[in-house]
């Protein structure tokens, strides 16, 4: 209601949209109104009018007067001295073979029927028969011994417990075979059908409750489940028949209708995705008041309150619900809102019909339809929700399917790009390896071969060329050796180097003392690359060559150890000789000469730069007792050759 009202002063475009959507909907509702009224007319149960008894004499409060059924009596709260309808009918034994019966299509609240002064039917024994909101019919067969040929007397005691007025519809007396079908039809419509609906409701209540338990963030299901549970309790709990004084149960039953209707409004608001305004909790107030009073007060008070508070609340809720659905229709234009809207309209029409009936504006047979249509609506909503749930599951399924497909596609793409990337990386690695190899060959082998060429061209003979050639060979072996995968174990490379160095030193008569101070030698370096190995081995080569060529050493000691100072362990390689040393690379001690000095200095520079390139630190100390080179390896070897160039 407020939703629509709030939309009045909006922009023309929106208003046009509103009108273009709302008007067809309202027309549809009008159509439904007509259809419902027609349907009610058509569905009205047909009674066997041949056997109708309408003319009765009513004795009420000590006064007797003739009345025509259907008849309303005044409302009353006492069961003492109920209105007594007395009538007569004619029985002819020859008419039919079967027995006769009394058929009361509608009465409220209870009846006691006597034929010729003998009670044959008391509806109070069937608790459900006395509910004013059900339209329970009653039939009682008349024992043939009671029937007299000719005129017979029938008395109907109408027991009324307010606040509604008492009502007695036309009474039918006749052959059982003629009355039974009408009775059965009414029983089917007003007794069996509600039970079926209630059973259905209870099942849906369980399903919805489970849904809500599993999906707490969707209270829609929970609200509807509660409404349905209340409805089921209301339907199946036998109402107390006065004078039994179980007012608490009566209170629960009376309060159920307004609370249910308020819950349905909550459901509607939540279902259409609106926020539930806090103050709307007031909608529950009437139901709770009826409940509270029912718990405290005596029997008549809650019933009066129910009439004054409960029933208008139900009407208000239905109206609100109609507004909510109308707003939803305007906004969403989907099947769910249309269907719900139409259902609410039908229930609203039924409620209005019932009100008119209560106020005797429409004096048909006083058949109350609200409860029945409401149950049908709830069942429809429940079915709709289940349908929505199933559809959501389907969507989830198809979404999952799509997801699987997408993931597979993405995986394929990823694989392809990974393969491409790998190919590229391999090509890059190959190229860089080639570059490295070129540089390594150029560094050592190339230079040495060129110096061999130069030496032989100048006619040099013997030792110098031999030395250069051997150096070239040694370097070639080093380069080849470095290509091998040593799995990050520098010890494997040093093993080969030891062999080569020993072979190199043997002719000079120099002993190579090899000491591995720590059991594992050097720490493993998974990131170790061939070019690191080459740099380290060349540093060691340089140290040994210096010791042989310039320092005239007799012993060279190589010590390998791992230093672990709590952090990452790192390796240290020491090369010490017992040669004459050189004064910090500037001038050799002894008879070396300028050329020797500059060569030593260059070698030293070379060693330092090689160490820097693979992240190692080189320390060199030299005096007359020998030269000591300390190469401290990095904890992690650098990935790229930073100092290239």
């Amino acid at each position: 209601m407020s939703e629509i009202a709030a939309k009045a002063p909006v922009k023309p475009a929106r208003r046009r949209l509103l009108v273009s959507r709302l008007v067809p909907y309202l027309l549809l509702q009008a159509l439904i109104l007509v259809a419902t009224i027609l349907g009610l007319r058509l569905l009205q149960p047909i009674d066997p009018d041949d056997f109708a008894l309408s003319e009765f004499s009513l004795r009420e409060d000590g006064v007797a007067r003739p009345v025509t059924l259907p008849h309303f009596t005044s409302s009353r709260y006492s069961l003492a001295d109920p209105p007594l309808y007395t009538g007569g009918f004619t029985f002819r034994r020859g008419d039919v073979a079967s027995g006769w019966s009394v058929f009361l299509p509608r009465f409220s609240n209870a009846v006691e029927v006597a034929i010729n002064g003998v009670v044959i039917l008391d509806s109070r024994r069937d608790a459900n028969a006395n509910r004013p909101d059900r339209n329970t019919p009653q039939i009682g067969s008349i024992p043939s011994s009671l029937l007299r040929e000719g005129a017979n007397e029938i008395t109907v005691r109408l027991l009324v417990w307010g606040p509604l007025k008492g009502f007695l519809d036309t009474v039918y007396v006749g052959p059982d075979a003629a009355l039974r079908p009408a009775y059965e039809t009414r029983t089917l419509m007003f007794v069996t059908l509600p039970v079926v609906f209630s059973a259905w409701q209870s099942i849906l209540a369980v399903i919805l409750a489970i849904m809500w338990l599993m999906r707490r963030r969707e209270p829609v299901y929970g609200v509807l489940a509660v409404a349905m549970v209340l409805g089921v309790v209301q339907a199946f709990a036998p109402p107390p028949v006065p004078p039994v004084n179980t007012s608490r149960l009566a209170a629960v039953l009376l309060a159920s209708a307004p609370i249910e209707s308020a819950l349905v409004v909550v459901f509607g608001v939540l279902f259409f995705g609106w926020r539930w305004p806090r103050y709307s909790m007031l909608l529950f107030a009437p139901g709770l008041v009826v409940f509270g009073v029912g718990l405290i007060g005596g029997p008549p008070l809650p019933r009066i309150l129910f009439l004054v508070l409960g029933i208008p609340t139900v009407g208000l809720c239905l109206f609100l619900m109609a507004c909510v659905t109308a707003a939803a229709v305007v906004r969403r234009q989907d099947a769910a809102s249309f269907t719900l809207g139409c259902a609410v309209t039908i229930v609203l029409i039924c409620w209005v019909h019932d009100m008119l009936s209560v106020f005797e504006i429409v004096t048909d047979e006083r058949i109350f339809l609200s409860r029945l249509s409401y149950s049908a609506m709830l069942v429809a909503i429940g079915a709709g929700l289940t349908w929505r749930f199933a559809r959501a599951l389907n969507q989830v399924d198809s979404f999952a399917g799509q997801l699987v497909t997408r993931v597979r596609e993405a995986e394929e793409r990823l694989k392809a790009s990974f393969a491409r990337e790998e190919e590229r990386a391999r090509a890059a690695a190959l190229a860089s390896e080639r570059t490295r190899l070129m540089r390594d060959l150029h560094d050592g082998l190339g230079g040495q071969l060129i110096s061999i060429v130069a030496l032989s061209e100048r006619g040099h003979e013997g030792a110098t060329i031999t030395d250069a050639a051997r150096a070239a060979l040694k370097d070639l072996r080093l380069v080849i050796d470095s290509m091998d995968d040593i799995g990050g174990d520098l010890m494997l490379a040093l093993g080969s180097w030891r062999e080569r160095a020993t072979a190199q030193l043997r002719p000079h008569g120099i002993a190579l003392d090899w000491q591995v101070a720590t059991p594992q030698g050097l720490p493993l370096h998974p990131e170790l690359r061939p070019w690191h190995v080459i740099q380290i081995v060349r540093i060691l080569d340089e140290a040994v060559t210096n010791a042989v060529k310039h320092a005239e050493a007799r012993h060279i000691a190589v010590t390998i150890e791992t230093v672990d100072e709590g952090q990452e362990p790192y390796g240290v390689i020491r090369v010490a000789d017992d040669g004459k040393g050189f004064a910090n690379g500037s001038a050799p001690v002894g008879n070396g000469g300028a050329a020797d000095a500059s060569q030593t200095a260059r070698g030293l520079r070379n060693m330092k730069s090689r160490a820097a390139r693979c992240g190692a630190t080189l320390n060199l100390s030299s005096d007359s007792s020998g030269t000591r080179v300390r190469l401290q390896l990095p904890q992690i070897f650098p990935d790229s050759d930073a100092a290239v160039g």
């Binding site: 050639a469 091998d484 040593i486 093993g495 080969s496 043997r506 090899w514």
Partner: protein
């Protein structure tokens, strides 16, 4: 001085090398050490040289003008099981040495080795001590570690069957690969220093694939071929 075998006769060596200067160099070094050396520069010459009398030691290059030294090694191993075979390698790289080992060589000689080293190596070989370099040992032990299961491509380098090596032999190879001397290895492993060279010779023998049939058998044993 003349190097002599157990029988007291001079030790005969068949040297097969096509490069003349290298051939002279090795020849001189061996003759100087007292060996009786016959030289051949082609496969055909080598075969005819073998025909006369079995040499005690065969030293052969792999690349020969009329064929591959591997054929000669295989042939010699079959015909003269007692002959010690050594491959002459320029660089001592795995490719040449391992392929020679698998057909029956039990050692290798570097072409640029110093004359004294050449003589020593041959003498050791005759005494039953096969030389092995750190890089060859490294190659073998890395093969024993195996390639990951179902690796798509076989490991690079010549095919090598390491299945028959014992853990002790593999330990010895590790020691050599890491540059330890025989004495150091022996003390680490609790062996006598003298037994290490014998172990190495055993390793060579175990790496040898004798016949095609045996190679197939080995392959089946290792699950490389499914029947």
């Amino acid at each position: 001085m003349t190097e002599q075998g157990e029988t007291g006769e001079a030790i005969t060596i068949l040297l097969v090398e096509d490069d003349a200067p290298t051939c002279w160099r090795l020849h001189d070094a061996l003759v100087k050490a007292g060996y009786e050396v016959r030289s051949a520069s082609t496969l055909a010459e080598a075969r005819s040289g073998l025909g006369e009398r079995a040499p005690r030691v065969l030293l052969t290059d792999l690349r020969l003008p009329d064929g591959h030294g591997v054929e000669l090694i295989r042939e010699t191993r079959r015909r003269f099981p007692d002959t010690e075979i050594m491959v002459i390698s320029a660089l001592g790289d795995e490719e040449s040495v391992i392929s020679a080992i698998t057909v029956g060589a039990t050692g290798y000689l570097l072409k640029d080795a110093f004359p004294t080293d050449i003589a020593t190596t041959v003498r050791d070989l005759v005494a039953g001590h096969s030389p092995i370099s750190a890089s060859i040992a490294r190659f073998i032990v890395r093969r024993t570690q195996g390639t990951p299961q179902n690796a798509a491509e076989p490991p690079p380098g010549p095919a090598l069957n390491t299945a028959r090596l014992t853990p002790r032999e593999i330990d010895i190879l590790w020691g050599i690969a890491k540059g330890f001397s025989y004495a150091e290895i022996a003390s680490h492993l609790g062996l006598s220093r003298q037994t290490v060279p014998g172990h190495i010779k055993n390793i060579y023998r175990k790496l040898e694939v004798h016949t095609r049939g045996e190679a197939v058998f080995e392959a089946v044993q290792q699950g490389l071929i499914k029947l």
